[in-house]
Symmetry: C2
Subunit: 655 residues, 2 copies
């Protein structure tokens, strides 16, 4: 039943009796690498078994790609033939790993010896066998040779020696490797820089950056940088900064015609003033933009560029490369549409053009152009409307030269497409968090992200709003839900972002019946009172500070939900692997009413073996609590503060 | 992020925009083939998607291995980018399949056209595009060319034509295949004969086959064949028929010493009278055994041989090939043990011998010897105590020459090992059914077997008892539980078996505290009154007749549980794909008390679109019922009959 080739391979050495299956992390049978960031743990698991009752030992073999030396790591049996070994990636290079396993006859013998001795069975022959094993293992190791001679001493002394702790350690430390099986594939883990996994994004339209309501400029954005930095953000994302199309320009509230002077949508890219490598003159010059990048960098902020691969009708590409667009039989160029809706201000590229190769190269050159001008973070607009193989190629090409670039996929689309974009190379992805509101929805979604296979390639970035999305549950709502949705985004996920001014200043007015903003900034210049801060600003600042100070909040993968019986109360814990930092978050999901409940302390996770004695410090309200019970009362009034952000310390004598 | 090789492959033709993932059935990334039997359906599923909103079409490509011509089968979108296409395997050869998919611009255009026309948008240019598509598709097809000319007629007529059913059929029938993606692997389905999936086994010890209590012979077994055939069994399985070891022979009730004249365990194979290719003289001659096979065959019964690859101390192999066994330092040969227990009547082979190759060849020759003597079915004793790679090789070797052999794995062990034996080639496997007793346990286990990935390689064979296992729930129990456990085994699974006389005659006496028989037939000759039949015999006969007459009962994979609210009542339906045969089974799992409940008719499965009008015929009690409601009352008194076995007929006007 098994293929002849496979059969032949397996029977090359008939003494190999161990089977290794289902080695993880593995993405699409190894077609794509698993992803980690610097300093993260890789939990390698496998199903490993053999015939009979002999004892198996298993090891993870791992190395940096290109190295010739394998690191070797003992695996532990978790039960049901499932094994685990963990290593940490400490260099920003791809790692290669596999698993090997064998039947350890020495260990098997040792286990049998102990059982027979306990049952008072004569073990004379077993002692002789032990001597043989030790001699095979010893080669020239004098310690093992002397151990062998101790097995040849007087019977009761020899038996006592084999039953000693010293001998057990010896067996553990000297695996007898024979006829080992090795998993048929070497799998890859790529390692990215820490920011891929830990970032806080603030989005603003540079044209709304002025203090006086006039069309803003890069210089105005530079003036806002200290404000953004003070709040604790490390990515400032600006919608497209390129010349905006003048033909079929959209007016206020997405009107199909615009009035003279209306600024249009920045996503309608290109005009006689230039295309994807140019800067919108009203925002300033390329030099201004570079200065913005440099100033931001000084404050620890990356400026994210919006990569929107589409053209306004007057984009220079349309004249220079009409072959990159779809020509209709009447000689016109195909505009974007979702029948019967038309988007006549946008021409999509025709990726099926015969000149696809030139088109791919040009788009790659756009990315490289901005990287050369200092950009390290790209937010990619609707990547799911461009071919996935194009992204696979373009991101791989960029990574070859610039390995530290972040690509955030703005694909609010069907799950398998979002997954595929992440697999082929996107660093981070927008998510369904925007619409996960109830306790059940949040727990289910987090468990899918963290415990599903997508954990190995899909890095979530949680956004409570975007310029495209004012979710129903926030519409016409007050401060409380803004605060609690922010707190969820920033603590559930180590990557998160907000469409800043609209969120900070509680813009809650939708287009009737839609999840879109009324008087959307996408089509007009807004005036914000950038000098103002409010309660939201303060909370953002405190939460971002907590994220920076607490490594436990710098990962999405370390979450564990805690039992709390109220359906409006959500509680979860995040800890570092070494438990040196532990955070407990409790959120009241009801913005209108006080709720309370008893939170169960996750003893196992905190490695609390005896009594409970936890010191809790709320990093927002600066209150202190002591918990000494397994279940602890928590009450949250959303009008006071809808969440707790506790630093937890376990009294050491109880670990 | 994606490997450079993969990236290059993908970018060979940049116009390919469709991604195909997760093609099923696929076992361990294609390392092993999926299994089907002749006439079974293969449901090929895949995740298929592209960028944007263009319409995708997908096809399963399949062929017999070695053929150069692909069959092509349209797939349907089930939702969430998951697609299905099904084909039936009609020849007993391996099939190869893969999936291809592409964006169909003609279909995309057609869909847009309909939406625009419905919204009263001008579609003049769209008509021109339609003409272009039809000309590309037409080549010399005059029908398509005339269709193109109709699109060039007067506007309203042309629009009406495109909106006609005729045109919709045309679009459906003429996929525009361009830039198709093909899944990167060709996967294999092996096709076995029908008996692999549908068999009823009766096990008896030939030494207990006589009518007078003397040591039975093959001739006695021949006399029992009409009885076994009348009950409807088609496999008669005899424990090992080889000479029984005389050294360290076990006595009654597994006593470590035997009295003179005690027959020993047939699994302690080999003596001075011969080994695995010999016949136990007390049973008769090899000729007698061949005659038994021939007589059985005339009655539609296969004689199953027990393959127990282990030796009694006096097996000829021990002298002839001491190198196949493990030598201990004191010069003795290692007997079987599970410390501190010793099994000194059994020497296991040492599969790690340097002469493993010779050992493998000899064991293969044992299998081939019995096949040459007429055996087509093997029940393999404890295959999980021999190396899995050996089985992979041995079964593949046998299959090359004799493709219709059945190997049943007697591996009552951990799940991954049972799965692995099935993957590498075992035709059927013993299961945990023996211990799945409650409603929840049975439903969960069936769903795991039928809907889990193991469906593609693991064929269950359900046994309510074996000579090794008298389950706790049957011990000291009466007729009712024997009947209901039999009914479950024979209707849940299309392969099942019983350790016959003990089951038929209600042997319910265990070794104290164990799931083993007291006075086990493994160690002594039993006298049965083979002339007797009883209620159990009659029910077995009727159930086996129903299985033979009803194709719905000849598959395990077609089961669907029906809602019935009582926790003691289990109901399930089995149907053929074409619904020409439908069986409903209802079982009262409580052997002590009457239970009742309302069974929900599975309308969707039965394709009942309007009112319900079902005719039910109980094939055991010969009672008739008519059901006209969705929920229908059923009552089962275990002292009358603990189960219904209904043939269902749907009144045709309601389909």
């Amino acid at each position: 039943m098994i293929g002849a080739d496979e059969m032949t391979t397996r029977s090359k050495n008939g003494k190999v009796r161990v089977i290794i299956e289902n080695v993880q992390p593995q993405v699409d049978s190894g077609l794509y690498p698993a992803k980690r960031t610097l300093g993260e743990r890789v939990d390698v698991t496998a199903d490993i078994f053999g015939d009979g009752h002999d004892h198996i030992r298993a090891q993870v073999m791992y190395k940096e790609a290109g190295s010739t030396v394998w690191n070797v790591l003992e695996m532990n049996h978790l039960g049901n033939d499932h094994w685990l070994g963990s290593f940490t990636v400490t260099n920003k290079v791809p790692y290669v790993f596999t698993v090997r396993a064998w039947i350890d006859h020495f260990d098997t013998w040792f286990d049998g010896f102990k059982k027979k001795a306990a049952a008072h069975v004569d073990v004379k022959v077993e002692l002789m066998e032990g001597v043989e094993f030790l001699k095979v293992l010893a080669k020239d190791d004098s310690r093992l040779l002397s151990s062998a001679s101790r097995l040849q001493e007087e019977y009761t002394k020899a038996v006592a020696y084999v039953l000693s702790d010293e001998f057990a350690r010896l067996v553990h430390d000297h695996p007898l490797v024979e006829h080992e099986a090795t998993f048929e594939k070497e799998l890859t883990v790529v390692v990215e820089h820490k920011k891929a996994n830990f970032s806080a994004w603030y989005e603003l339209f540079p044209r709304s950056a002025s203090l006086d309501g006039k069309h803003g400029t890069f210089k105005d954005v530079i003036k806002l940088l200290p404000r953004v930095a003070a709040m604790g953000f490390d990515v400032l994302y600006l919608p497209p900064i390129h010349p905006i199309g003048k033909v079929n320009r959209k007016g206020k509230n997405n009107n199909v015609t615009s009035q003279p002077g209306e600024p249009g949508s920045p996503w309608a890219i290109g005009s006689d003033e230039g295309g994807h490598k140019a800067v919108h003159p009203e925002l300033g010059t390329l030099d201004d933009y570079r200065r913005l990048i440099a100033e931001a960098k000084r404050l620890g902020i990356d400026i994210a560029l919006d990569l929107a691969f589409q053209c306004a009708p007057d984009h220079p590409y349309v004249k220079e490369h009409p072959e990159w667009f779809k020509q209709r039989p009447d000689g016109s160029i195909q505009y974007a549409e979702n029948p019967p809706k038309k988007y006549q201000d946008i021409y999509p590229f025709n990726f099926e053009t015969d000149q696809w190769n030139e088109l791919w190269e040009e788009l790659k050159s756009v990315i490289l152009f901005w990287i050369e001008n200092g950009v390290k973070v790209f937010r990619v607009d609707n990547p799911h409307t461009k071919p996935i193989p194009f992204w696979a190629w373009a991101i791989a090409e960029v990574n070859k030269v610039h390995p530290d670039i972040i690509f955030l996929a703005e694909a609010f689309t069907r799950p398998k497409i979002m997954a595929s974009l992440a697999k082929v190379g996107y660093t981070q992805s927008y998510t369904y968090f925007t619409w996960r509101v109830s306790k059940g929805e949040i727990i289910e979604y987090m468990n899918e992200l963290v415990h599903g296979n997508s954990r190995n390639y899909f890095r979530p970035n949680f956004w409570p709003n975007t310029p495209d999305i004012l979710p129903f549950h926030v519409q016409h709502q007050g401060e409380n839900i803004f605060i609690l949705r922010f707190a969820l985004a920033a603590t559930l996920s180590s990557n998160y972002g907000i469409y800043g001014p609209a969120y900070e200043f509680y813009d809650n007015v939708p287009m009737q019946g839609k999840e879109e903003y009324f008087n959307s900034e996408k089509y007009e210049v807004k005036k914000y009172d950038w000098k103002k801060t409010n309660r939201m600003t303060d909370i953002i600042t405190m939460v971002n500070a907590a994220r920076k100070n607490h490594p436990a909040l710098q990962s999405t993968w370390n979450i564990q939900f805690c039992s709390i019986e109220d359906p409006n109360m959500l509680a979860f814990i995040k800890t570092t692997d070494d438990l040196s930092d532990s955070i407990l978050v409790v959120v009241n999901l009801d913005p209108y009413a006080k709720h309370s409940g008893y939170v169960q302390v996750p003893r196992q996770r905190l490695k609390i073996t005896e009594g409970i004695n936890l010191k809790l410090h709320d990093l927002i309200t600066d209150e202190y609590y002591t918990w000494t019970q397994e279940w602890n009362y928590v009450e949250l009034d959303p009008y006071k503060m809808p969440f707790h952000l506790f630093k937890i310390e376990v009294h050491e004598s109880f670990r």
